[in-house]
Subunit: 317 residues, 2 copies
Amino acid sequence: MERYAIGVDIGGTNTDIGIVTSTGECLSRSRIPTQQFSIIDDYVDALSNGIKVLVEQYQPCEVSGVGIGAPNAHFYTGTIDNAPNLPFKGKIFLKKMLEERLSMPVVVTNDANAAAYGELVFGGGRGMSDFIMLTLGTGVGSGIVSGGKVVYGHDGFAGELGHVITFPGGRLCTCGRHGCLEEYASARGIIKNLWELAAQGNYSSPLLEMDKSAVDCIMISNAAAQGDSLAKAVVERTGFVLGLALANAVAVTSPEAIFLMGGPARLHGLLPEIRKSFENHLLTSYKGKVEVRFSELDANNAAIVGAAAMVLAEECK
Amino acid sequence: MERYAIGVDIGGTNTDIGIVTSTGECLSRSRIPTQQFSIIDDYVDALSNGIKVLVEQYQPCEVSGVGIGAPNAHFYTGTIDNAPNLPFKGKIFLKKMLEERLSMPVVVTNDANAAAYGELVFGGGRGMSDFIMLTLGTGVGSGIVSGGKVVYGHDGFAGELGHVITFPGGRLCTCGRHGCLEEYASARGIIKNLWELAAQGNYSSPLLEMDKSAVDCIMISNAAAQGDSLAKAVVERTGFVLGLALANAVAVTSPEAIFLMGGPARLHGLLPEIRKSFENHLLTSYKGKVEVRFSELDANNAAIVGAAAMVLAEECK
């Protein structure tokens, strides 16, 4: 009988639930509105019911367990700790609460680690022992695979490449420190690159005619695709910073490849700029040995499939 | 019968060989002058003979194998690749050559990884799954332990923290890039900190009265111990840079502790300065969770014991 797993992607707005085959196919999915729940017990009841409905739909197939990717989620404790974008405050014992409601094991990790599991089990990381998954979005997250295992570190919070201080004394980050990668390569970091470059150079660009608060990464990408010099400079600057930060990460864990995921990673022309800066910044002994490429997971289901992969991966059996 | 291992520390000047017990005691050691050999076969013959003499001395005890720490040594291939400080050029198939001469397994790794093995098996890292070993000397080396294993990465060259670009556009490094940690925290980096601070400030210090080429880290340490303001500023600056670089490394692998080894690490007053900068630069979620302390290995035998630990460690049986 085929083995399935449930993958759950908890976001601030919605929670997506999917049932995933052992080959990484998401057969069916459902959604519950995270933001409509203020009481955690009600939310976990709804999540548990959503999972049960999917499991029953595919009876008599065997469902091995539930993998959950969530912001500020902790693999070792199975908790979500003070996630700023979720309506539930404090420490949520999600694994325990859900296992009490379901007769199957539950594994919890943060979004970027779940993405790394997805890449390892179903994506471009198949057959690789060492790679880095970088997720670009509202923030910059990462999951690090070393020796075929996702690195959790002592406290379960390894892989915070978004908060490596890339430029000491640089931009103030939401974490309270200065110069973190996230301030240059997340969606908001890229917008900051735009306004910084616009202030420094003498650009004439349609982006400068717009309502400042309306400009987003898609507009920058479209403008870059149309040859806009300011947008192209933003792409170049973003690629320079990402290439530098990724070259530094290589000197720590020496991966075979780096996978990029998330909307901002798809900025028009960004990948070649990252690769150029990356090779320039690599220590000689690593040059030409480390691929930087896009995630091979289907972006629509990547978070669900990655979360399910935690359960389906050999190590989590 | 007690299990012993041979530990070998290959340096540019000398090669030290020791026989090490399963509790990490170095019972006996010998030395061959690396720099007097220009032909690799002659060197490996001498090394092999030195090992045989030690093994015979402790007959009938069982010797499990030979662990070797060497510059530019490669764990996966058992080779030494273009080590600039050794008289043998190109790629040396050391593991293969030595196994042909000895009837026991040989394991080869770089110096800092050997030190990490030593700390893991016999030092402060006993019982820890995740830590970083930082070795300060002519260069800055590191060995990273994650999930109880030394991280080698895809190409066997993981753990080059000395060549993480800490200050983009900073000092020119011997690797040809700019701003590597090594240029601020190795022995030569610390001397550079001295002259940079001396040029920036209005210091009156006995260090400035000396022949510039004669000033070394021991003199700086002694001057700092005597309250010399320039020497103290050098210690503070060095601690600042190390604290920043180590805080960045924590965001990658999330260790429980960081161990420091090597002469420059013992600079008078350096450890408190590192700890201050480290805590200041840590991401909030790691603050107060990661110890920075000195290696617990005996400095006289650390390299030999570390190399032997590779053989004695469970994973290398």
